[in-house]
Amino acid sequence: MSYDKDYDIIYEGLAQHVYLETSEDVQVLRSLAKRFSVRIFKEGDALWELSANSGQLHFILSGAFAEYLMDGRVPHLLRFYSKNRFAYSEDLILYSTRPATYTTCLVEARVASIPAGALAEYLMKEKLGGQLLTSLIELSMTEYRNTTYEMLQTSGIHRIHAAIEQFPDVLNLIPRKELADYLGISRASLFRSLKQLEHGKDAGTISV
């Protein structure tokens, strides 16, 4: 894929988070898009690590990642990032402190990234800068809200449905054991729920 095409996609992604009033706004945002650099990630590569001390804003062009939160020494799968989504550590971007989470590549990916320093320049100097980070943080908060809806369902099937609604590929991204942990249900319950889905009225729409 050509870099120009990538920059167009990054620009479109950024433009969803700011209100472009003038042609100058468009120009500034296009030049910000061109400051992203594109990299390939193989399965298991880290998008950011617990030991990272400099942050980046990432835009996923293809592939998928999982973000893990440490609880003591145990990592817990928190959420997924897939195509056309932004990914970043709030700790690194907002506070320049070591992150509480790390993010790993699940499916080979192409990712466009911009260092926090270059982003901060845009945030401070450009009038749309404040809008961009605010919008990204708000979107992230909404995603956590949606994931909380998933987890507040007491039935395994409802949890699976809610998870699929948010991450359509969730059943294919991770092994079943990890999926059961992610959904907060036992493996037996996961298999029962998946069987029920397979044989139930949803069989035509959900591939298990």
Binding site: L69, D71, H76, I137, S140, L152, T154
Partner: protein, 203 residues
């Protein structure tokens, strides 16, 4: 003696990781922007947050239930339980200019104060640092949400109860069992079974 609104709001902002001493004037302007608190009785719906309210609300005293419509069961259910000295907003209205999907109900008598969006915008034009505080406040709410998500993913009800007791002790002490069951995402029957099994009472 109970703290004043000014002290409570000041403490809240000073506790944010992004707060630095050069933001003192910004915080002072925020405090001055708040209206005087209003009191709501236990069980009252906070109608002040009816659409299209985009204001910022500060819970000075008491506890609030944040309620949403569970799309799978088509009934109203607890989304979150908010302790005093916290900010709450209509996320859907404030972020996306949409009709709110959540509403707030007083779990105890509560005192709430608002900072209108209009005043927020005025403060922003004079004190841009308010954006950093806003981002930091939002990020802190996220941290709480993701911590709670770990609890909601525990497959054992007793582990979830222990998490609330150990990490949200203030909430654990005040929640009745129905609210606790909703907060940890289990049925009432499961919660009662867990208490019966351990022989422990909630309090």
């Amino acid at each position: 003696m109970a703290k004043t609104l000014e002290q409570l709001v000041y403490d809240f902002f000073r506790g944010l990781p992004a707060y630095t001493t050069d933001m003192e004037d910004t915080v002072k302007a925020i405090i001055d922007g708040f209206d005087q608190p209003v009191i709501k009785k236990k069980g009252a719906i906070i109608t002040e947050l009816a659409p299209p309210n985009k204001d910022f609300w500060f819970l000075c005293d008491g506890y609030l239930k944040e309620i949403y419509k569970n799309p799978f069961l088509n009934e109203d259910a607890l989304f979150n339980f908010i302790p005093p000295s916290n900010v709450f907003v209509n996320e859907d209205s404030l972020f996306y200019n949409k009709r709110p999907q959540h509403y707030y109900k007083a779990y105890t008598d509560v005192a709430i104060a608002s900072l209108s969006n209009e005043k927020f915008q005025k403060i922003k034009s004079k004190y841009p640092a308010i954006i950093k505080l806003y981002l930091s406040g939002t990020a802190e709410i996220q941290k709480n949400r993701r911590a709670r998500l770990l609890m909601l993913r525990m497959s054992n009800t007793q582990d979830r109860i222990d998490w609330v007791r150990n990490r949200r002790g203030e909430l654990y002490k005040i929640m009745d069992r129905v609210t606790l069951a909703q907060y940890i995402g289990v049925s009432r029957a499961s919660l009662y079974r867990a208490f019966d099994k351990t022989g422990k009472s909630q309090f």
